[in-house]
């Protein structure tokens, strides 16, 4: 299963990718912001993990655009962000993310959220 990992922090991308490898997912594509992610997204991507605050295009904007595309309507999107006030979480939901992880996260939380969305990703 191929994951698209979107974050403007190279450190965070590496942490997420290493976490994914540790739970058995080694097929990953990286993007530095929403625009880059849109350019790299294709039907081979089965799961998206995205940050919120990024230059050029934010994680919520990226999610909205992806949801408007035929090939991005169903893909599970997990937001991993430092933003954690209620309004932000609701905004992310409205944009179309399927679940939400607050930074800093533990590998266990990442695994739980991915596991919960795997059936949808495999569909």
């Amino acid at each position: 299963m191929k994951f698209l990992v979107v974050d403007d922090s190279a450190t965070m991308r590496r942490i997420v990718i290493n976490s994914l490898q540790r739970i058995g997912f080694s097929d990953t594509v990286e993007a530095g912001d929403g625009q880059d992610a849109l350019a790299k997204f294709d039907s081979s991507i089965k799961f998206v993990i995205t940050d919120w605050n990024m230059p050029n295009m934010s994680g919520t904007e990226f999610t909205k655009v992806l949801r408007s595309r035929e090939d991005g309507r169903q893909v599970p999107i997990l937001m991993v962000t430092a933003r954690s006030v209620k309004e932000d979480i609701l905004t992310a939901m409205e944009a179309g993310v399927n679940n939400y992880i607050v930074k800093p996260f533990t590998p266990q939380v990442l695994k739980e959220k991915i596991d919960a969305l795997l059936p949808a990703a495999a569909a």
Partner: protein, 231 residues
């Protein structure tokens, strides 16, 4: 006091200063002669002088009052902003230290595990099963070290916020300087050389390394209460 109120007070101070300037100009009543070259200052009627001076005095008192208010407004706004910035920088220091300690603790535990593995290897008949368990724990420790590095992303956002506040303060001080400077254009070069604030879309002003579990619980609670879109 809000920054908007501070700007209003500054604007009112500027207006009052202009009024004083206007009054003083009126006192001089300068006018050109018919030839347009020489200037004459007519004698003021002596009886008008006390009234004019009284008006000028009232305007000056008004300006002084506004200036005091401006100073108070600027002081309050500046202190509030700087206190937030100070708090962010203090949190960065704390987060950096916490992450460093977590990593050092993990290094200590990892080193101890390597020693245990060495001891097992030195045995005549090494306990492979025990060694396997220690290796798994060692991988966990190394993974924890990597996870601790998440502080870098969060502290980077906190520093961006602190930087934005400092740039805003600098711009505000420049605005005040322009208000009182006879040649505000001279300050434009200072404005041009001032650092630019980080792109506000790239950081969260409230980013923190603190209370991650509680914040995650809030997110989970919201996602449970409000059904997430079906994937």
């Amino acid at each position: 006091m809000t920054s908007t109120r501070a700007q209003e007070v500054l604007y009112e101070s500027e207006a009052a200063l202009r009024l004083v300037d206007h009054e003083l100009t009126g006192m001089r009543d300068v006018r050109d002669t018919a030839e347009g070259s020489a200037r004459v200052i007519p004698m003021l009627a002596l009886s008008e002088l006390p009234q004019i001076l009284e008006q000028a005095n009232a305007q000056i008192l008004s300006v002084l009052s506004r200036l005091r208010e401006s100073r108070a407004a600027l002081q309050t706004t500046t202190l509030e902003k700087l206190a937030t910035t100070h708090e962010k920088i203090r949190e960065v220091t704390s987060a950096t230290e916490d992450a460093a300690i977590d990593i050092m603790d993990a290094c200590d535990r990892a080193t101890h595990m390597v020693d245990e593995l060495d001891a097992i290897d030195a045995q005549a008949s090494p306990d492979r099963e025990k060694a396997g368990g220690i290796r798994a724990n060692l991988r966990d420790e190394l993974f924890l070290m990597m996870g601790a590095l998440q502080f870098q992303d969060i502290t980077s956002q906190q520093l961006s916020h602190a930087s934005a506040v400092l740039v805003e303060m600098e711009n505000r001080l420049l605005d005040v300087a322009k208000l009182f400077d006879q040649n505000p254009d001279d300050l434009n070069s200072v404005s041009e050389g001032a650092p630019r604030a980080p792109n506000e879309t790239t950081y969260d002003p409230n980013a923190t390394t603190l209370n991650a579990e509680r914040r995650q619980a809030l997110a989970d609670e919201i996602f449970t209460a409000v059904r997430a879109p079906a994937a």
